[in-house]
Structures are given as structure tokens and as C-alpha cells.
């Protein structure tokens, strides 16, 4: 079965970011396909590689990156939500004239159309938020 995942909350702010990860991982481990994980609203904060939690604590951002690597996951960060919150990739850095970028490995910045596309392609769209 094909799942689409929508994440609306940031790491270390609301448990939704954790639940979304555990659900996505469990779906993949059960042999389902995850067509896309879409990060919207504060959910875009899951995609900054500059987070540095204590070493004995879960690293929510790295955890997503590792899952993406292992399963070739398509993880999309909403561009408009990202711009508001300072989540920037190399291209956005140049386009907006910023002095740095911070998008973590495995994430891509794209538009809201990618959420609609996930909703169309997936058999189930599962939302995690507050």
C-alpha cells in the first residue's frame, strides 16, 4: 500500500514530529511504500541540519535523514513555510541572497503541489500535527 505522510509540527516542540517518524518507519518496515513525507508549517523545522541536541538524546533531524537514505524516501519541505522559518537550501540561498544554507541531507525544498501530488498518488494520507 502507498502512504503519504504530512508533518505539520517541528522537532522538540510537539510529539507529532516523533509520531510521524515512528509511523513512517513502521510502514516502511512492514513493506509499504511511502510516496512522500511532506513537511508543512512548523514541520519544516525537521529539515535543518543545524540542530544539535545533546548526544544522549534522539536526533530527530538526523533520524529522518537516515531513514531517507535507507529507503530512498522522498522528503519535501514546503518552500513558503521554509522561507518564513529560515530553512534554506543551496539554491534558495543564492536566489534570496542569503549567507548560508541549512537544509539537512535527504530533504528537498519544493511547493505545496507536492502535497497534492502525494495525496493523489497515495492510497492513504496520514496527517501528524497539533
Amino acid at each position: 500500500m502507498k502512504f503519504g505522510i504530512l508533518v505539520n509540527e517541528g522537532p522538540y516542540q510537539h510529539q507529532a514530529a516523533d509520531t510521524a517518524y515512528h509511523f513512517t518507519k513502521a510502514a516502511l518496515e512492514r513493506g509499504h511504500e511511502v510516496v512522500r513525507v511532506f513537511f508543512y508549517h512548523d514541520g519544516v523545522n525537521n529539515g535543518t541540519r543545524l540542530t544539535t541536541p545533546p548526544q544522549d538524546e534522539r536526533n530527530i533531524v538526523n533520524r529522518w535523514s537516515e531513514l531517507a537514505k535507507q529507503y530512498d524516501l522522498d522528503m519535501v519541505v514546503c518552500v513558503a513555510a521554509a522561507q518564513r522559518r529560515g530553512i534554506v537550501d543551496e539554491e534558495e540561498k543564492k536566489r534570496q541572497g542569503k549567507d548560508a544554507d541549512n537544509l539537512a541531507e535527504g530533504f528537498n525544498i519544493s511547493g505545496l503541489g507536492q502535497l497534492i501530488d502525494a495525496g493523489i498518488k497515495a492510497d492513504r494520507l496520514v496527517e501528524f500535527g497539533d
Binding site: M1, F3, Q15, T19, H22, F23, A26, E29, R30, D130
Partner: protein, 100 residues
């Protein structure tokens, strides 16, 4: 349909809204702070006991454990599931509605 409720019933009205609108025979999964509704001895216990005859209730095990709610303290009829079974419930129902 699978309904997920992630809010404590003592904080928000998400569970009430879910119970009001869910069709009989629905699967209702309590996750995150929503699992507080699954415990006995609270102000919402009676409400859940009545709803258990119309719907199938589940509570996410890791979230119960994180909040110190032991299985012995759950309302009769509430089934404890893990993330894998959460996935099974989502796959087994045609739609998933998150009551945020």
C-alpha cells in the same frame, strides 16, 4: 474510517468532536496525549465506556508507557497497539482522519 485523537480530553475538545462525528463501527486510535482518555477513574471514563459499544478503541502502547498509564488501568475494550499496528489500522481503513 480510522480516527486518530492526539489531544488530552482534559485540554481540548478533539475527542468530543471525534465521538460526535464518527460513524458507528469506526476505529478510534488514541495517540500522544490522547491516551489519557483510555484510563479508568477520570472524568471522561463513562463517555468512553458508552462509546466502546459503537466503536473500536485503540491506544498507542509507547504513548501509554511514556505517561505512566499501565495496561491494568485501561478501560475495558481499549486495545493496546504499537506503531506497526497503527500502520495496519491505517491500511485497513479507507481513510484516516486526524482530529487535531
Amino acid at each position: 474510517m480510522l480516527h486518530t485523537v492526539n489531544k488530552s480530553p482534559f485540554e481540548k475538545s478533539s475527542l468530543d468532536t471525534c465521538l460526535r462525528l464518527a460513524k458507528p463501527g469506526s476505529d478510534i486510535l488514541l495517540i500522544e496525549d490522547g491516551v489519557y482518555a483510555a484510563a479508568v477513574g477520570t472524568a471522561v471514563e463513562q463517555k468512553i465506556r458508552e462509546a466502546v459499544s459503537d466503536h473500536t478503541f485503540y491506544a498507542l502502547g509507547p504513548d501509554l508507557k511514556a505517561r505512566g498509564i499501565e495496561e491494568a488501568r485501561l478501560i475495558d475494550g481499549v486495545k493496546v497497539v504499537g506503531y506497526g499496528e497503527f500502520v495496519d489500522l491505517a491500511a485497513g481503513n479507507e481513510r484516516v482522519q486526524a482530529w487535531l
